[in-house]
Symmetry: C2
Subunit: 485 residues, 2 copies
């Protein structure tokens, strides 16, 4: 009977692994993958009194500054509080510059409230402030607020751009070039969109440098099976911490022009530059300095965020994208597309405004934060300690917030990992977590040359804690190597 | 030469209308479409001193309570301010219950800061509070915090669920049933995902009622060309304002069980019920009251948001989804998928916590808001005035925040619209905007039966302003009808 057949079929879910979107299955995001889930479990076990050889889990898997104890910038939070609860504008404990800033923002909000939707591209005065910030950063090269799209963190805008760029089927499918190692948002988004990932390798032996000949090799190989359309660059690098030279950026732009690729520049770590002799150059600035042949033609989207740099305000999910030389019709489509989600969260927009427009030295709330200097010290410390360990070798952390050291693992460990069905560096990181409470992300989650093994660790823990973490990893590595020798 | 060819090709953008994702082209979102863009332009013109027959633009196109002058709930904003700037915890101007709430939330944030990422499914104590809220709402039917996913407004979670549900090619492509008229997020998301939209029509003559025979007609016709997988219901209805009876919900659930459809219940207007004799019944509650044959099998996702109801906090982009009977493996995939975007904005999560867990009557900050009663009056007023106009006929606004009246338009107006390449109700709404400054959304943006014409208007303007709006539309309609007769 129909009823009996229905009953039978009912045992199977409507939405199951066979009927689910197959692209979603292929999505991987190691930064919050199985190792982090195990870390959360261990935290619960510790709370429940389970005995462990450590007293806390240290989540060095993610660049989450506040979770690591970094304090927010007072002025930023004062303005957010004033905007959220405008009765405080009458409170004389708040400095005038914070109040003025809050009043200006509230005047641009519907009904003077953070609770109203904004324009889908973001609040207009904030987009103007972002444009002025970019102009100042780039030595006066003009920035048009109409090219600025505020976003829910940088991830949101990156995925939106990749979505626009994806089309075709089979051999005409869009291909997008991403570095290996990469930040796995890129591979995850490409998997979800069923676009083709074109991998180009950074050169670990040259401090994770980018060589145009490798870009050319990758794009030429890819043309056999897809239509390369975009080139993504993360500078300063995540997970690899390199800072690109001006020359290298010029070479990349020339390559993109020759190969007709849309450039996506992930510049969320633009203030996180530590190494002497290194300097951040925005793709936009270099593009404009190369003259009209390039600055009038090469299509570029650049991304920034409130989550990194000296403020580390990840939880607010603020960000923006600037688009250059975008086809005006495509821009209308982009605006339409972002309007479906109404608008980025207003508190994140407010915070972004403060980041791009902080108090000037002559204003009462001007605050000299040492956050970046402290990070520079930690970058150096990390490199130094790791490079004393036999079997760990790391490049200088020139910028961003991570070290991505290479591990030499004993054959027996690799065999043991294989037996468990794990990548060798996953096996290593899992064991490290169980024995020390330190949570890292295996290099396999970012991509790496076959046969090499790495992990990514953030340098954000407070200096004293970072020293302990580094010492614990050193000791673990020694034990691990002995155990499997 | 290669250079000359490149120059030639350079005139064409890499990302242009031909190379762009064709699914994006098909996306439409009328709530922020061309009419709203023109409204923004007119606002600028007014500011620049251009003379118009009106002094302000009234954006009745969107359910944006604060933009319409509704004030935020004091307690909510106090807690957000305390969380953003915890120094205020020392300030004795804040009530103790607000401070306690802020402390409890901050304890659940990484590093005690809103600036840290949360778990990708949301802060755990907030998910627990949501589960308790649902239990209370549904008369004790249990809710498991593990089934709660916090989101960036409801839109985010709705799109994520539709994404999971989309698979197949050609005749096996996923089909998703949505009402006509519908909220255009659904059609936009399905276009973007290249899923098949299966339209079922609400019965305007029966107060936008939903009839299972119409559902059956639609699903049977659809099986010819796709694989129906999901049924979306908006209750209370947007744009149509109906509130579903308990019986109707039971019928829909039985239909979904028989036809093996995943149920998506958009219940963001669950507190917006005005008409006498109408009551909100959650799909979950009815499902569980139907007994284990249904409650153990029918897969359901239900959505809620901080943007509507009595608080109207759209700008914070808070929301949640509860999933019932979801395949455990699919749930892992869902968790993985949301982790790629890291987490919903923390201020929105905080606000959601306050919405699901407001001060009790015995707490100092308990506040009796009349927002819902005022909305009920405005719902009645709108219906009454519109139904006095010859050529406008509207159903009672039983719930939600909109009226969707039907327009009788003169043949000559329809011809004039055709000449302009516009839908007749777009032509009508554009003319209304230019002459009165009132911004509505044409019915064609939501879908309607061929040959019928409507608009959606929110009932949110303050009562005195709403009266003026209604009178202005009445007068405009008379003029319009005369002009084209």
């Amino acid at each position: 009977t129909k009823w009996a057949i229905n009953q039978q079929r009912h045992r199977e879910k409507v939405l199951n692994m066979n009927t689910m979107n197959p692209n979603v299955k292929r999505v991987e995001y190691a930064v919050r993958g199985p190792i982090v889930q195990r870390a959360v479990q261990i935290e619960k076990e510790l709370k429940e009194g389970v005995k462990k050889p450590f007293s806390e889990v240290i989540k060095a898997n993610i660049g989450d500054a506040h979770a690591m104890g970094q304090k927010p910038i007072t002025f930023f939070r004062q303005v957010v509080a004033l905007c959220a609860y405008p009765d405080l504008l009458e409170d004389n404990k708040f400095p005038d510059d914070a109040k003025n800033r809050a009043r200006r923002i509230l005047q641009s909000c519907g009904g003077g409230s953070l609770g109203a939707y904004s324009a889908s591209t973001g609040i207009e005065v904030i987009r103007q402030d972002v444009a002025r910030y970019i102009e100042k950063r780039d030595g006066g090269i003009p920035s048009n607020p109409d090219n600025i799209y505020l976003s829910t963190g940088a991830s949101d805008a990156i995925v939106t751009m990749l979505k626009l760029l994806t089309s075709g089927e089979g051999k005409t499918r869009s291909g997008v070039m991403i570095s290996i190692p990469q930040y796995p948002l890129y591979s995850a988004a490409l998997a979800e969109l069923a676009a083709v990932q074109i991998s180009y390798y950074l050169d670990e032996d040259k401090c994770w440098g980018l060589d145009v000949s490798e870009l050319r090799r990758a794009v030429e190989a890819a043309r056999e099976h897809c239509k390369p359309r975009a080139l993504c660059i993360i500078n300063p690098g995540n997970p690899t911490g390199q800072v690109q030279s001006r020359q290298c950026i010029e070479d990349v732009i020339r390559f993109a022009a020759e190969e007709r690729l849309f450039l996506m520049a992930d510049e969320v770590y633009q203030d996180n530059v530590y190494a002497e002799g290194c300097q951040f150059h925005s793709f936009k600035k270099v593009l404009f300095e190369m003259g009209p042949e390039y600055s009038n033609t090469v299509e570029l989207a650049s991304f920034h965020s409130t989550s990194k740099c000296y403020m580390g305000e990840c939880g607010f999910r603020g960000g923006y994208m600037e688009v250059i030389n975008m086809d005006p019709q495509v821009k209308l489509q982009l605006t339409k597309l972002v309007s479906v989600r109404l608008c980025p969260p207003i508190p994140g927009q407010v915070l972004l405004d403060l980041v791009v427009n902080p108090p000037r030295p002559d204003e009462p709330s001007y605050e000299r934060t040492a956050n970046l200097e402290i990070l520079a010290e930690k970058a150096k410390l990390t490199e130094q300690i790791f490079n004393t360990v036999s079997g760990i070798r790391c490049n200088p952390v020139q910028g961003a917030m991570y070290t991505f050291p290479r591990l030499t693992l004993p054959e027996k460990a690799i065999a043991a990992a294989k037996e468990k069905g794990q990548a060798p560096d996953m096996f290593y990181c899992m064991k490290l977590l169980e024995e020390t409470g330190i949570c890292l992300v295996p290099g396999s989650g970012f991509g790496q040359r076959d046969g090499t093994h790495h992990f990514r660790m953030t340098i954000l823990p407070a200096t004293e804690k970072l020293k302990i973490v580094l010492e614990n990893i050193r000791a673990f590595h020694k034990r691990f190597t002995e155990e499997f020798s």
